[in-house]
């Protein structure tokens, strides 16, 4: 690399601190006893324990997926702590005043609004710390219009019929290795239910924080939007800086009934490891939305900047006629990070439409792959897909790959795929510098231009955050 690119100094990961808090953990390792213990700690009904055990038994028969373009030491599943919760007087904090001050400081430091008075107007937050949900804001206010927004554990207690009906209905417990693992040991996450005809009056969000060095985070999020309902949901995540890898294997299920609309946005900033690839989160996530009803609409927007390894394909099953699936993604990798991410759009219903916009940015020695499947089933008369996958390379030692798969079984389908690879070259950067714009700002402007089509899908505050985050991540990367 030349002198122009270097000299932009590295920005440290500012969320890398650890909260010193007493934890209630189960011993490391995985077996039926551990699962029973987790289930007991959460006071779960028998059917859920059975569901977990079934998933676990299936998981034992499965092998870790090898097809992704990522290499990493396989996690030792017997060394992971599957349940770790900040020790509290009560199992769930009734109000903010009861939250451990240390925890409150943690989230203040992270800029997560867990105090309703101080919260960002119009965003309700569920806060998940290691294995448990710490608090959920605006719950009562949302309940007045019939919206259920609470931690998954709470939903199991208060709305078991809904959980039972939808849990595993989009991502079956046997779906894949990590989804099965999650189904066996999931600890918390968020539950959202928007009843018929209700438009959620505020953005809902969950903030995930991994704190314990040896624990994995296995959360589960379930969002159901009934007929004509709509919701915008945001997800953010950070973790401390450890020199070991932590496993994050989440499952997110979305269900949209007739004319319902779910917009799911993620800004993922898990600790990515240091510049030599030591430490960082293994982010193995299964996210899938079911457009079950006619004219339903599910939109995924993700900004993936963290994690040592990312393995993630937020997908849409377009079952209802006239349903719409969208995937907007920015995946940025730097240093030794590896990302294999993309989407699946499965067209089953008639006149279903899907859009895929993927922007991969690789810098340093990183590897960044887009992997996508567009599948049009025989009955998907009039299905349409548009895919655009653009990659940008920064420097000489990174790589970008695109693995698009298109399977069309209906002649009336229209599928378009466009792909480009560009280099943020010296020439672009130099052009900006020659106009008096310093390298850092130039890079940030060029990258934001590249990602514009995705950023404009994000809710406003998130878009601002994402823009800043990308610039931070690239400082020093471009060296």
């Amino acid at each position: 690399m030349n002198a122009t690119f270097s000299g932009v100094t590295s920005q440290e990961y500012k969320y890398g601190f650890v909260t010193d808090i007493e934890a209630d953990s189960v011993p490391a390792g995985l077996n039926e006893e551990v699962i029973r213990l987790i289930s007991a700690k959460k006071g779960e009904p028998d059917w859920l324990l059975e569901w977990r055990l079934k998933a676990y038994r299936h998981w034992l028969t499965m092998a870790e997926p090898e097809w992704a373009k990522v290499t990493y030491p396989k996690p030792d599943f017997q060394k992971i702590v599957y349940y770790s919760a900040p020790r509290a007087k009560a199992p769930k904090y009734a109000s903010m005043d009861e939250v451990d001050p240390e925890l409150r400081r943690t989230f203040e430091k992270l800029g997560v609004p867990i105090n309703e008075q101080a919260a960002l107007a119009g965003v309700a937050v569920d806060v998940v710390f290691d294995s448990v949900s710490v608090t959920t804001t605006y719950k009562e206010k949302l309940a007045t219009v019939g919206i259920i927004f609470c931690s998954f554990s709470e939903a199991v207690k208060t709305h078991p019929e809904l959980v039972k009906k939808y849990l595993g209905s989009v991502v079956p417990s046997s779906d894949n290795f990590y989804a099965a693992l999650n189904s066996a040991v999931f600890t918390d996450g968020s539950f959202v239910f928007i009843p018929k005809g209700v438009t959620c009056p505020m953005d809902l969000s969950t903030y995930f924080r991994i704190n314990n060095k040896d624990s994995g985070q296995f959360e589960r999020t379930l969002i159901v939007a009934e007929e004509g309902a709509s919701v915008s949901y945001l997800e953010g995540c950070t973790a401390p800086q450890f020199d070991t890898n932590q496993l994050h294997a989440a499952v997110v299920e979305l269900v949209a009934l007739d004319r319902a609309s779910i917009k799911y946005s993620t800004v993922q900033n898990w600790y990515a490891g240091d510049k030599d690839g030591v430490g960082g989160i293994f982010n193995f996530v299964t996210k899938r939305g079911l457009c079950k009803g006619k004219g339903s609409h599910i939109s995924w927007t993700q900004v993936e900047t963290g994690s040592a390894i990312t393995w993630k394909y937020p997908s849409c099953i377009l079952l209802g006629d006239d349903s719409i699936g969208e995937f907007y993604s920015v995946a940025l990798t730097n240093h030794k990070q590896q990302a294999d991410t993309g989407t699946k759009m499965v067209h089953i219903g008639r006149n279903t439409k899907s859009t895929i916009i993927s922007k991969g940015i690789s810098a340093g020695d990183s590897s960044n792959s887009y992997r996508g499947l567009v599948k049009v089933q025989p009955k998907a008369e009039g299905a349409r897909n548009f895919s655009q996958c653009d990659s940008m390379l920064i420097g000489q030692t990174c790589s970008a790959s695109t693995f698009p798969t298109i399977e069309v079984q209906n002649r009336s389908a229209r599928v378009e795929h466009e792909a480009t690879t560009s280099k943020i070259g010296e020439e672009q950067l130099f052009y900006f510098q020659q106009r008096g714009i310093p390298a850092e700002e130039a890079i940030s402007m060029i990258i934001n231009g590249f990602c514009k089509d995705v950023f404009r899908e994000l809710p406003m505050e998130f878009a601002v955050e994402a823009t800043k985050l990308l610039s931070l991540k690239l400082e020093g990367s471009v060296g």
Binding site: E427, F430, F432, Q433, G436, A439, E441, M445
Partner: protein, 254 residues
């Protein structure tokens, strides 16, 4: 203003500039002419700090300061501008946002007020008249899908926004039809002030009919072979470059 002494530079280890001496004072317009591959564009790019070129010897001062101590963006804010022969396309970055950032960086460096988007909008609407550019080009991505002529218009628009003290214009006439050339040439003349200077790099003398230099230099093989007044450009138009090269070769043999 700009003083170049025995400047040598290379690209990928190959020497391109082999000892350039040039003195440019405020109020002067210089033209560097020469056949293709003579090192004309290299000279311009070396002055603005293009990363592909390595300065191997000599010195250049701008306002008495060693130019090579300054990063390219610092040189730009100090008032050196280069209009590129082939301006690069930057998808997704709005032309207006780019122009405003460039303007504000310079304003900041000079302790002037920065302009917010609304103020800049008023400012830029005046400037685009100078280069007869359509307003829609402000909202488009920087140079993306612009024709060769539109890109050149955009370069001169940037010059008008930044009002550089030293503007180096590399092959401004390439890709321009005769009318556009006149418009941009007139714009450059209007931007010229007594405390400014211009360095016009060109293969064809045509542009020098509009932007009239006091000094003309013939560059070939990485050296300035001949310098003269405007009459030299006329002579080059009539006789081409070969005679200068032959004269220089004869001079070397003597």
């Amino acid at each position: 203003m700009l003083s170049i002494r025995n400047l040598t530079a290379s690209i990928n280890g190959t020497p391109v500039l082999k000892g350039i001496d040039l003195e440019i004072k405020a109020g002067e317009i210089h033209a560097i002419m020469g056949p293709n591959g003579s090192g004309k564009s290299t000279l311009g790019k070396v002055l603005v700090g293009h990363p592909s070129y390595e300065v191997t010897g000599g010195e250049v001062t701008f306002d008495g300061k060693n130019l090579f101590d300054l990063e390219p963006d610092v040189r730009a804010r100090a008032g050196i501008f280069m209009g590129f022969q082939h301006p690069i396309e930057v998808p997704g970055v709005s032309n207006a946002a780019f122009l405003r950032l460039a303007y504000n960086k310079k304003a900041e460096a000079e302790g002037r007020d920065e302009l917010d988007p609304l103020e800049f909008d008023d400012f830029i609407r005046e400037k685009i008249k100078l280069v007869a550019m359509k307003e829609e080009f402000l909202d488009r991505s920087l140079n993306e899908g612009f024709s060769g002529g539109e890109k050149k218009r955009n370069e001169i628009l940037q010059m008008a926004v930044l009002e550089p003290r030293l503007a180096i214009l590399d092959e401004l006439d390439s890709g321009l039809d005769i009318d556009a050339l006149r418009v941009l040439g007139d714009a450059v003349n209007k931007l010229m002030r007594p405390d400014h200077a211009l360095l016009i790099i060109t293969h064809f003398p045509r542009i020098l009919e509009t932007i009239q230099p006091q000094f003309v230099h013939v560059l070939s093989g990485g050296r300035i072979l001949k310098s003269g007044g405007p009459e030299l450009a006329v002579e080059l138009e009539e006789r081409g470059y070969d005679w200068v090269l032959e004269e220089a070769a004869a001079g070397d043999r003597r």
